[in-house]
């Protein structure tokens, strides 16, 4: 579809996208949070009965460490010093990915550069960076996208210059094919189903047409369409 005037809607801040994403995490879940907006989700699940996994090799990782609590042997995937929660345990990175690949993560929340109509996601390689297609920072993203029971993407709805990030087909190198279950952006919550992308929630004050104007594939409008609630 043609995007005429590139419209940029502000909608939710990064912190509030993360807050909305945190609602997807229920008591009893094992969760892995990627870098970027997903990391902020950890602030909003304090007090929930969930276990965060750190891909470096830890279950029940606690909040960021400060001052005297900083232990140089205790960091997360973003190289930030973190703390322990009661009941935590350590294991190798190999074991960590055995858990991830083996399907033991109920939810993985990752950022992305693009998500397609079929639930493909691209996030590890931006060609604008000028590297060949096979060169970039993959890290744990492919294993997480492929292994988690439920994959949720948190991202801005458009690029800084207003181009859609929800596209017919991803043009950037893929992280995984067909695995995305839900996309939470600054202006919309979208479910990925066999038939396509279902618009479930919109930022208060915006219409489905507003969301469609900055989304490439034709959106299916949910019969229970409502406003994003935090």
């Amino acid at each position: 579809m043609e995007i005429g005037d590139l419209r940029i809607f502000e909608g939710l801040s990064r912190e509030l996208i993360a807050m909305r994403a945190a609602k997807e995490i229920k008591d009893g879940m094992y969760v892995n949070l990627g870098i970027g907006i997903p990391t902020i989700v950890s602030n909003w699940i304090v007090g929930k009965d969930v276990v965060l996994e750190a891909e470096i090799g830890m279950l029940n990782v606690g909040p960021l460490a400060e001052g005297e609590n900083i232990d140089q042997d205790l960091i997360n995937a973003s190289c930030e010093p973190v703390t322990e929660l009661p009941g935590c345990c350590y294991f190798s990175s190999c074991e960590s990915f055995a858990m991830i690949r083996g399907g033991y993560m109920d939810v993985a929340i990752l950022g992305a550069l693009q998500v397609s109509e079929k639930g493909d996601m691209a996030g590890w390689n931006n060609p604008d960076r000028g590297f060949p297609e096979h060169v970039g920072n993959i890290g744990g993203s492919m294993d997480l996208a492929s292994g988690a029971k439920s994959l949720i993407i948190t991202m801005t709805h458009t690029t800084r210059d207003g181009r859609p990030k929800i596209v017919n087909e991803c043009t950037y190198p893929l992280t995984a094919k067909g695995n995305v279950d839900k996309v939470i952006t600054n202006i919309a919550v979208i479910s990925v189903v066999k038939e396509g992308l279902v618009l479930e929630e919109v930022f208060p004050g915006l219409t489905p047409e507003d969301i469609q104007s900055v989304t490439e594939p034709r959106l299916i409008i949910s019969r229970n369409l409502k406003e994003i609630e935090l």
């Binding site: 190289c79 970039g136 890290g139 492919m142």
Partner: protein, 234 residues
């Protein structure tokens, strides 16, 4: 059995040009910086380095880049910044200039290839990377209606390990997230060199708490715990 080396320089002295070396550490945690510094001093070149990253928290590996010792890097999160931003960094510049060949592997596959190399597993199937550039040139097979890629084991010539405690039999114990890749990398290599903060007597490490059995380790050297900094990864 006495596997103790008296210095890191002694421990790396026989590393020849063209060696394949796995280096433990996840950014700043558990990275054997003293061994890497010794390798830079030693000067062996045309090296293939297998490590998470050449950049954030690994400025010592950058020394190998600057000195032109690296021919190829096998990494999982090689560069200093995220997918969207570039950075002025010796490794990134060397890759762009074609001076260093870089192979990027998904993290789970990366460490499982090393585990397989030390465990007599020639190859294994994983679903990670199906439908992406990672699948190029690889055999695919269906199991229970799902597609998997055939990935091959890696067996390095050397591994550099960082451990919290080690004894002269080569038994190692790690601390918290400084363990990360060290365990499986230690088992993979023909010659594993362990730098340890605490050199203890056999029996001091509780047998139930040995993370790397001594059979995998050929050389042990005592080092002083470094002070780490925390670079911005993204």
């Amino acid at each position: 059995m006495d596997k103790i080396c008296h210095s890191v320089d002694e421990a790396v002295a026989d590393i020849s040009d063209g060696s394949i070396i796995a280096i433990g550490g996840f950014f700043t945690a558990g990275t054997p910086v003293h061994l890497i510094q010794a390798l830079a001093r030693h000067g062996a070149k045309d090296l293939t380095i297998i490590c998470q990253s050449v950049g954030p928290g690994n400025e010592d590996i950058s020394q190998l880049v600057i000195k032109g010792q690296i021919k190829k890097a096998i990494c999982t999160y090689p560069f200093y910044r995220s997918a969207t931003k570039g950075a002025e960094h010796p490794f990134e510049n060397s890759v762009r200039a074609g001076k260093i060949d870089v192979e990027v592997i998904p993290m789970g596959t990366f460490i499982e290839k090393l585990r397989a190399g030390g465990a007599g597993i020639a190859a294994f199937y994983t679903a990670t990377g199906v439908g992406t550039v990672v699948e190029r040139g690889k055999e695919k097979k269906m199991f229970n209606g799902k597609e998997y890629l055939l990935e091959l084991a890696i067996k390095p010539d050397y591994t550099f390990v960082y451990a919290h405690k080690g004894d002269r039999a080569g038994n190692l114990a790690y601390r918290k997230t400084a363990r990360n890749y060290n365990t499986e990398m230690a088992s993979a290599a023909t010659i594993t060199i362990a730098s340890v903060e605490n050199l203890v007597e056999p029996g001091d490490i509780d047998p139930d708490h040995v993370h790397t059995p001594g059979v995998y380790v050929q050389r042990v050297v005592k080092i002083e715990r470094p002070q780490n900094f925390y670079p911005t990864i993204d």
